[in-house]
Symmetry: C2
DNA sequence: TGGATTGACCGTAACGGTTCAGAACCAATT
DNA sequence: AATTGGTTCTGAACCGTTACGGTCAATCCA
């Protein structure tokens, strides 16, 4: 297989037109509106194009003129590469890709380094709109996106007034999970959560920090837990909450260790993500704690691996979320579209939650 | 959090300049070359910009002028959404994203429908170059990519003269695996392979079809097997090869079933991908065949799930491949760059390969 | 037959920037 | 006093295309 010869970049629509002795409009029409010129002339145009090595209208110039880039930008909190490792993000991406594909739109992943505040990449992206996936309230990249005159849809977080959004009711979802644990008898629980702010803070979380977290989703989930346990008289100020900046199984394990070391009497570890919960399970195993007999562990998201190990969790429709975000964005011209989509979640009973052992059982076995 | 007021689209670099009574050049410099104007004036420019709701230089117009889009295009065979499900593709994507990120380049996923021959999306993508991942020799989208005057790197397949490429030595890699099976004593083997052409052909593969497959990688792998088994006198024409269009565990299972139904005496199933091999394992389990005692199964790729089940396979560095492709593309200006990168593979012994049972063992147990 | 319609094509004006070669000005040096 | 150098800003060309509003001749219809 040989590659066709490559002219350096001489041919343009204008040069083609000159060569043919027709107007640029006509050449343009040959490509974009075949019905606007005779088949014979069109054939000649296309053939001359081939002969001159003209690759067809330049996409960038076209975009400038038509004010359409044919692509949707995607902004993520994490490094791009991270998105390909986190199952929930991946599901979202798949759904978004599906929507884009359906509309013939490209998907432009914007390269941002979450550590640095370099916002230039956002300004450089030639896109017709942005989907912003799960970033903190004060993300400078988000601000840069919003400053651009293109429609934007936020997925999950944050809530921004006047900006379309798709997500779930995190607070209600985790409240339902908490109520289940409460009805099982758990009162002394611990919480593992994902990062609450842009700054790293691996360790225990004060009530104030929990309430002022700039990651809305985490804030809402913690608030949901406060709701549920507060309603049955648990003093939330005394509930240990451990935060981890990195979202990984190893983080979950170390957070669980830190929490269990500090408070060995907790009967349940409530994790705000499945990944953290998988880490907690690993740590429990390492300590010889049986789940759920000795310790209840719950997650959030409903990823495949959670399913595999029978994790008690909340399933959210991540793929559907991605697709909804894409559709919402692509429907931006339609003033009757919904401005906010809240998807349903589902409690997954799993097998990692059970009633806590009584004091007696603790000492004498079940 | 409230969104800043949004002007419809009045402000442009020119209007800003007019408002300020300076030239467009100066406004442009305020954004791109701060050292070219006094700090005071720059401050005024930026402040007026904010006041007028000017979002900064339009990325598309800038791209037109500078001839840089700041993004790399990625072309895949499958639907975009598929890429997020196939572990090998995912690893590649992660590596590619890493490379792009490092260079501050966006990653533009081109939406192609492999069923249709709609090549327009390729022409519409405003990118500085393309990475083409694993497409058939005769893919029209690839042809469209090559017709564009931008650098291109092909990953895996096909081999195109004059086009940079990164991949592995599929033929040698699978030959090594085959030799291992041969040394274990396998002579009667079956093969499960991925699609060989753009057309669906679920079923047995003739020698001719294998040799003329338009998916170069599959062709090379089958050829590698022919090499190895031919060398020990196995008549390759008699070796059953089953092809599946869809790449999924279910496909692997059904292909294994089809093969085992037709030839129950094979002692090993050689699969050209781990996914297919996982399906073969499932089918073996369903039939009550113990692996590796009753049946040897091998894969190719070295995905995480293969590792988990101890599959005998060939590991290829998918992430590294993606990164190499990205780097190669981004180094296109450098004439001393390598034009082709062949990465190393590694035989993973695993635990799904063992010597075949003898006829006696078959009847009387091991 | 004559007015209206249609088909095929064209000229001009954007689209919104960047770039480069200077101009204007001022201070310092020769 | 003339030269040099540096800073700050400008004018005009250019990037390659498509939208818009035509022109002009051929065809249609009653």
């Amino acid at each position: 297989m040989a590659r066709s010869t490559h002219v350096r970049r001489p041919a343009t629509l204008a040069s083609l037109a000159a060569e043919l002795g027709v107007s640029r409009t006509t050449v343009s029409n040959a490509y974009n509106r075949p019905d606007q010129l005779s088949p014979e002339l069109r054939r000649r145009v296309l053939e001359t194009a081939r002969r001159l090595g003209y690759p067809g209208p330049d996409p960038v110039a076209r975009s400038l003129r038509t004010r359409k880039a044919g692509a949707v930008g995607l902004l993520l909190t994490e490094n791009l590469s991270y998105a390909f490792r986190d199952p929930a993000a991946l599901g979202f991406l798949e759904g978004l890709a599906l929507a884009c594909e359906g509309a013939g739109q490209g998907l432009h992943l914007v390269p941002v380094n979450p550590e640095r505040e370099d916002v230039a990449a956002v300004h450089r992206a030639g896109v017709d709109g942005f989907v912003v996936y799960s970033v903190p309230d004060d993300d400078p990249h988000l601000a840069a996106v919003l400053s651009r005159p293109v429609p934007t849809v936020v997925a999950d977080q944050p809530h921004v007034e006047g900006v379309d959004r798709v997500g779930i009711d995190d607070r209600a979802a985790i409240t339902a999970l908490a109520k289940r644990l409460i009805s099982l008898g758990h009162r002394r629980v611990g919480v593992l959560c994902m990062r609450l702010t842009r700054d790293r803070n691996d360790g225990f979380v004060t009530t104030e920090r929990a309430e002022t977290a700039t990651f809305h989703v985490q804030r809402a989930r913690l608030a949901g837990l406060t709701d549920a346990f507060g309603a049955v008289g648990v003093d939330w100020g005394r509930v240990p909450v451990v935060e981890r900046f990195d979202h990984s199984i190893a983080s979950g394990a170390s957070a669980a260790a830190q929490l269990l070391d500090a408070d060995p009497h907790v009967t349940a570890l409530i994790c705000t993500s499945d990944i953290l919960a998988l880490g907690a399970l690993a740590e429990a195993r390492r300590r010889g704690l049986r789940v759920p007999q000795d310790l209840t562990v719950t997650g959030f998201d409903g990823i495949a691996d959670a399913d595999r190990v029978g994790l008690t969790t909340v399933r959210q429709p991540v793929l559907e979320k991605g697709r909804a975000a894409g559709k919402l964005l692509l429907a931006s011209v339609d003033p009757t579209r919904p401005r906010e989509i809240t998807l349903n979640t589902e409690l997954v009973p799993g097998s990692t939650a059970a009633p806590p052992r009584t004091a007696e059982e603790r000492w004498f076995g079940p």
